[in-house]
């Protein structure tokens, strides 16, 4: 049935291209098949037909394999996630320590921990999603405090200046109330405007 696999000059490598008796290259025939090219020759030529038939056989076995590799139990994403996170928690990247409380108090919070709190505070403002949140000690000695730089996605159709003020207030409040962290400044950058009709709230903390 596979007439074309018995060519005039047998290829030395089984994976090399092959010229069919009609003059077409096997690779050309298969590419035309893949591109669904409209070539009358392919419908008429028995050699090309046989070549396409072989590929069809492969494709149908492939479809079976695709379904089969999936008919077992669905992958257990939860247990894989747990195993991954077990390792990740041994390799945390907490960032730099930041001062808490009074300047002479020897009390610190790690940047990643504080950032998580501040992002959550920013997201209490309706429609706001927080991304990057970098914290660094204010370079001004003595006065202390932490400089916050946060990127947010804001809802479209809202006055951004007022929104930023709200976010700033929530962030400052959370820093003071939840962390006891003196804040020198809160720099808000709006990096995207979200159409509220396409509200994607999944994955929130």
């Amino acid at each position: 049935m596979t007439a074309h696999t018995d060519p005039p000059n047998t290829p030395t490598d089984a994976t090399e291209d092959e010229r069919l008796p009609c003059g077409r290259l096997l690779s050309e025939v298969w590419t035309a098949w893949e591109d669904q090219a409209d070539d009358p020759h392919l419908h008429e030529c028995p050699h090309c037909g046989a070549a396409v038939h072989d590929l069809d056989q492969l494709q149908s076995a492939m479809s079976g394999l695709r379904e089969e590799s999936w008919d077992g139990a669905a992958p257990d994403a939860a247990s894989l996630t747990r195993r991954v996170m077990d390792v990740v928690r041994l390799e945390l990247r907490p960032g730099r320590p930041l001062p808490l409380g009074e300047p002479d108090e020897d009390l610190w919070v790690m940047e990643a921990v504080a950032a998580r709190k501040l992002r959550a505070a920013a997201e209490t403002v309706p429609g706001v999603r927080a991304g990057s949140c970098r914290l660094r000690p204010s370079p001004e000695q003595g006065e202390g405090g932490v400089e916050v730089r946060m990127e947010i996605h804001a809802p479209s159709g809202v006055a951004l200046a007022a929104l930023a003020d709200d976010v700033r207030a929530q962030v400052g409040h959370a820093a003071d109330r939840d962390l006891g962290m003196p804040v020198a400044s809160v720099d808000i950058r709006v990096t995207d405007l979200i159409d509220s009709s396409a509200d994607g709230q999944e994955g929130r903390d």
């Binding site: 596979t2 089984a14 994976t15 090399e16 291209d17 092959e18 690779s27 298969w30 590419t31 098949w33 893949e34 669904q36 396409v52 072989d54 590929l55 069809d56 056989q57 492969l58 494709q59 149908s60 076995a61 492939m62 479809s63 079976g64 394999l65 695709r66 089969e68 590799s69 999936w70 669905a74 992958p75 994403a77 894989l80 996630t81 991954v84 996170m85 390792v87 990740v88 390799e91 945390l92 990247r93 960032g95 940047e111 990643a112 950032a115 998580r116 992002r119 999603r129 927080a130 991304g131 990057s132 949140c133 970098r134 996605h153 995207d192 979200i194 994607g200 999944e202 994955g203 903390d205």
Partner: protein
């Protein structure tokens, strides 16, 4: 005949904005954000690795390692591609390395006798179609690691050539050549066993 072209789900069209934010947070050390991303992408990546490696157990290990590697590399993740595409690439390359490290396979003549590892089907259910699938699964072991990876991404995972080129890190022409050689080898193997 040509109705079989199908393209499965793109890497992640789902809530791209949210995805980008989670990746940034994870890059800044927020492991909870990373956990959400892992949970979200694990199923499709396990499916990909299972197709590449032919073994679910090996696939889960490969995906687990890939995610841990992703966590370590996240600070350098520039966000030029989506997190989904980035991890797809990491998993593909990890699987390629596993395939390359496998022992050379049995020659074509004896390959048909190799028992199917973990997909054994009850004899009563074996039909001709099942036979073809089993033969194909065994024939996949005849391919080089690169041919196998390109063929699997193209045919089982339904990816366009430019996407595969990017994931494997070779030119589109090289991907096409490998897919062709894989098809050539597989059609011959299926034909030879009939």
């Amino acid at each position: 005949m040509a109705g079989v072209r199908r393209h499965t789900e793109p890497p992640d069209t789902r809530s791209t904005g949210d995805e980008g934010l989670l990746a940034i947070r994870a890059a800044e050390g927020d492991e909870d954000a990373f956990a959400v991303l892992v949970q979200r992408h694990a199923p499709s990546l396990i499916r990909l690795a299972t197709r590449l490696l032919g073994s679910r157990t090996e696939a889960e290990d490969a995906v687990q390692d890939a995610f841990i590697s992703a966590w370590r590399r996240l600070p350098e993740f520039q966000g030029t591609s989506s997190f989904g595409t980035w991890t797809y690439r990491i998993v593909t390359n990890r699987c390629l390395n596993i395939l390359r490290a496998r022992k050379p396979v049995a020659p074509l003549e004896t390959a048909g006798q190799v028992p199917a590892p973990e997909h054994a089907v009850s004899p009563a259910r074996i039909t001709e179609a099942r036979d073809a699938v089993r033969e194909l699964r065994e024939a996949l072991d005849l391919l080089s690691a690169e041919q196998r990876a390109c063929w699997v991404l193209r045919e089982l995972d339904g990816r366009p050539y430019d996407f595969i080129a990017d994931a494997v890190g070779i030119s589109q022409e090289a991907v096409r050549a490998r897919v062709f050689r894989a098809r050539r080898c597989l059609t011959q193997a299926l034909g030879a066993w009939r």
